[in-house]
C-alpha cells in the first residue's frame, strides 16, 4: 500500500500526509475505542499478573520460561487484535458509510493516503501498547531480554503486519460500521482462543494445536515464544505469517471499496 500511496502523492504538497495522520489521530483520540482496548488492556493485564507472584516464579515444565513469560507473547497478540480488529476496521467502515472516503476522493489526495494514515495512527497505538507490555515485563516482572532478540523482533513485526492486513480485509469486506463490528467480534474471540489466551494451547487436542499453529495469532505467538527460549523462529511460523500477509493483503486490495 505504501508504494501505491507514494506513487500517487508525487504531486500533492509534501506534508499533506502528516496533516492527515494528525487529523486521523485526533479523530481516534476523540472516539478512542481502539485506543482504550489497545492501551488500557495491557496495563490492566500487567496489573493482574503482577498481583500473582506465582506467575513470575514458576517455570513451566518443558521450557525455560516462567508462566508470565509464556503469557507475554499472548498478551502482545491480544493487544494487536484489539487494535487491528477494533481500532482499524470499524472507523474505516464508518468513514466509508458516512461518505467521508467519497468526500476525500474528490480532493487531489489519493484515497490510499487515507488508508495509510489510518494504518499509521493504529501502528502508533500498537507500538505504544507493545512498548508498555515489554517495558512492564522487564521492569515489573524481571523478564530478561529475549535470547534471540532478532527473531523476537521479526516475530513481532510479522505478527503485527499479518494482523493489520487482517484488519484491513475486515474493513474491505464490511459494508457498514455495524457489520465491521460484527465481523471483528466474530473473529476476535476464536482468534483469542487460538492464541492461547483462554487456555494454554498445550492442553488442546493435536488437531486444534495444528489449527492454532497455522493461524496468524498462533504463528506469531509461537515465533515470539521460540525467540524467548533462545531459538530462532521456525520456518513454519514465519512462513505462515508471510503467507497471511500476502493472501489477506491481496484480498484486501482487491475487495476494498471506497463507497
Amino acid at each position: 500500500m505504501s508504494s501505491s500511496g507514494g506513487l500517487a502523492t508525487e504531486r500533492i504538497p509534501s506534508g499533506a500526509f502528516w496533516q492527515l495522520v494528525r487529523f486521523e489521530g485526533k479523530m481516534a483520540l476523540r472516539e478512542p475505542i481502539g485506543i482504550i482496548f489497545g492501551l488500557a488492556l495491557p496495563v490492566f493485564l500487567l496489573g493482574v499478573f503482577a498481583s500473582i507472584p506465582y506467575m513470575s516464579s514458576h517455570i513451566v515444565p518443558g521450557t525455560n520460561l516462567t508462566d508470565f513469560e509464556v503469557y507475554l507473547p499472548i498478551l502482545i497478540v491480544t493487544v494487536l487484535l484489539m487494535v487491528t480488529l477494533l481500532g482499524l476496521p470499524i472507523p474505516l467502515a464508518r468513514d466509508r458509510e458516512l461518505g467521508w472516503l467519497r468526500r476525500f476522493s474528490t480532493t487531489p489526495a489519493p484515497p490510499s493516503m487515507l488508508l495509510g494514515a489510518q494504518v499509521a495512527v493504529n501502528l502508533v497505538v500498537a507500538a505504544i501498547a507493545i512498548g508498555i507490555l515489554l517495558v512492564g515485563s522487564v521492569v515489573v516482572f524481571g523478564v530478561s531480554v529475549p535470547h534471540q532478540l532478532g527473531g523476537f523482533v521479526l516475530g513481532v513485526m510479522l505478527g503485527t503486519a499479518a494482523m493489520f492486513v487482517m484488519g484491513l480485509l475486515v474493513a474491505a469486506i464490511s459494508p457498514s460500521e455495524k457489520s465491521a463490528a460484527g465481523i471483528a467480534q466474530s473473529l476476535l474471540y476464536p482468534l483469542l482462543f487460538l492464541a492461547g489466551a483462554y487456555l494454554p494451547t498445550e492442553y488442546l487436542p493435536g488437531w486444534l494445536q495444528t489449527v492454532s499453529n497455522l493461524s496468524p495469532v498462533g504463528a506469531a505467538r509461537q515465533a515470539m515464544t521460540d525467540a524467548m527460549q533462545g531459538t530462532f523462529p521456525t520456518i513454519l511460523s514465519l512462513g505462515v505469517l508471510v503467507a497471511y500477509i500476502a493472501v489477506l493483503g491481496y484480498l484486501a486490495v482487491r475487495l476494498f471499496r471506497w463507497e
Binding site: A8, R11, I12, P13, G15, A16, Q19, L20, F23, K26, M27, R30, E31, D95, L98, G99, W100, R102, R103, S105, T106, T107, P108, A109, P110
Partner: protein, 349 residues
C-alpha cells in the same frame, strides 16, 4: 436541428426516441454555439458520454459544454443521471464511452490535476462527526497546490463563529456552507455543486443562492445540479435538462420556459365580438379560446403587440389584459412527462 445550430438563441429540444444518437452529427464547432449567454471558451466539454451500471441510473449519449464563468444548471427528475454525469466530470467515475474534457484535461488520465482545479460538493459525503470545522478545512487546504486561506473562507461563508465546532453540532445550512468551503478551499476554476440546497429551509436556501452568485463573481465556473426549478431560474445562465440518461433540452432558463413551458397565455375581454381567425392566423398563435367573457390566446413569443394590432384593425379594443408566460417548472414537467406518458396512461386509465 440545423436551425437550432445556426441560431444560438434557439432552443435545442431533442426527442431522444426519434433521434437516438442526437450528437453524432454535431461538429466540434457547434460546441461554442451552445453557449449563448457568453461568448467564451468552453472549460468543460462532455461529448457523447455513456455510462451504465447494473441497469438503471445510467446516462446515454450526453453532450454539452460549459462556458468559462457561467453557471450551468443540470436539471432533471430523480434518477435521471444528473449525479452520474457530474461524477464523470469530476473523475469519480470512469465513462463507458464518450469523452470529457475539463480545462483541457481528461479527468481519468489526469486525476490529480483535475481534482486540483475542480472543487466538488457531493450530494452524499459527510465528514467524521467529531471533526472540527477549521481542522477539516485546513486539512483539505494542505492537499492543494494553491489553496485559499481557510480563515478567510470561513468568514466569507459565515462560519467563523463555528470554526471550533464539531461537524455533528452544525445545522443543515452550516454543514452545506462547510461543504461549499471545502469545495472552494483549493481555489478551483470549476465548482461542481450537487443538490446543494436539498433539505434546507427557505431562509438557508436563499442564503446559499447568494453564496453561489458570490462564487461565480470570483470567476469560478459553476455546474449546479438541482431539481428545484426556482433555483435554476434564479441562478443559471443555461440549463441542461436530463431525463432517463439523455439530454432532452439545453437553453437559457428563459428560453426553455417560454418555448417549452406551454407558451405565452394572453387573456382579455373584447369590447365587441370578432372572428377568431384574425388572431388564430397570426404567426406564433397556437389557439384561441373563449372562456365566459374572456378570450384566451395561447402561443409562443411576444403575443401582445401582434394581438393588439390585429384587434385594432377590426376596431375591437381589449380590456382587462393579462399576459402570463410559461415557467421553467412547466417546461420541466412538459418535457419530462411527455416521455413518461405511455406508462402513466396505462396506470391512470
Amino acid at each position: 436541428m440545423n436551425e437550432a445550430e445556426l441560431n444560438p438563441h434557439a432552443l435545442t429540444t431533442l426527442d431522444a426516441h426519434s433521434v437516438p444518437i442526437p450528437w453524432t452529427t454535431a461538429t466540434p464547432n457547434s460546441v461554442s454555439v451552445e453557449s449563448p449567454t457568453r461568448k467564451t471558451r468552453a472549460v468543460v466539454t462532455v461529448d457523447r458520454l455513456h455510462k451504465t451500471y447494473g441497469g438503471t441510473n445510467g446516462v446515454h449519449e450526453v453532450s454539452f459544454s460549459v462556458g468559462e464563468g457561467e453557471i450551468l444548471g443540470i436539471i432533471g427528475p430523480n434518477g435521471a443521471g444528473k449525479t452520474t454525469t457530474v461524477e464523470c466530470i469530476s473523475g469519480l467515475r470512469a465513462p463507458d464511452s464518450g469523452s470529457i474534457n475539463v480545462l483541457g484535461l481528461d479527468p481519468q488520465k489526469h486525476r490529480q490535476e483535475v481534482r486540483d482545479r475542480v472543487g466538488v460538493q457531493l450530494q452524499e459525503g459527510s465528514l467524521p462527526p467529531r471533526a472540527k470545522v477549521r481542522e477539516v478545512l485546513q486539512l483539505f487546504a494542505s492537499f492543494y497546490r494553491q489553496p485559499a486561506d481557510p480563515d478567510e473562507l470561513l468568514s466569507e461563508l459565515g462560519l467563523t463563529e463555528k470554526r471550533n465546532a464539531y461537524y455533528k453540532q452544525l445545522s443543515g445550512g452550516q454543514k452545506q456552507r462547510l461543504s461549499i468551503a471545502l469545495a472552494l478551499v483549493g481555489n478551483p476554476k470549476v465548482a461542481i455543486l450537487d443538490e446543494l440546497t436539498t433539505g434546507l429551509d427557505p431562509q438557508a436556501r436563499r442564503e446559499t443562492w447568494g453564496l453561489i452568485e458570490k462564487i461565480r463573481d470570483r470567476g469560478v465556473t459553476v455546474i449546479l445540479v438541482t431539481h428545484f426549478m426556482d433555483e435554476a431560474e434564479r441562478l443559471c445562465d443555461r440549463v441542461v435538462l436530463i431525463d432517463r440518461g439523455e439530454v432532452v433540452a439545453m437553453a437559457t432558463p428563459e428560453a426553455l420556459a417560454e418555448q417549452e413551458g406551454g407558451g405565452t397565455h394572453m387573456r382579455f375581454v373584447p369590447s365587441a365580438p370578432f372572428p377568431d381567425k384574425i388572431l388564430a392566423s397570426l404567426p406564433g398563435v397556437s389557439s384561441v379560446e373563449h372562456v365566459g367573457p374572456h378570450v384566451e390566446v395561447t402561443g409562443k413569443g411576444d403575443l401582445l403587440p401582434a394581438v393588439m394590432q390585429a384587434l385594432q384593425i377590426v376596431g375591437v379594443r381589449a380590456q382587462d389584459v393579462q399576459v402570463t408566460s410559461g415557467s421553467l417548472e412547466d417546461a420541466f414537467l412538459r418535457l419530462t412527462s411527455q416521455r413518461t406518458r405511455p406508462t402513466t396512461e396505462v396506470a391512470g386509465s
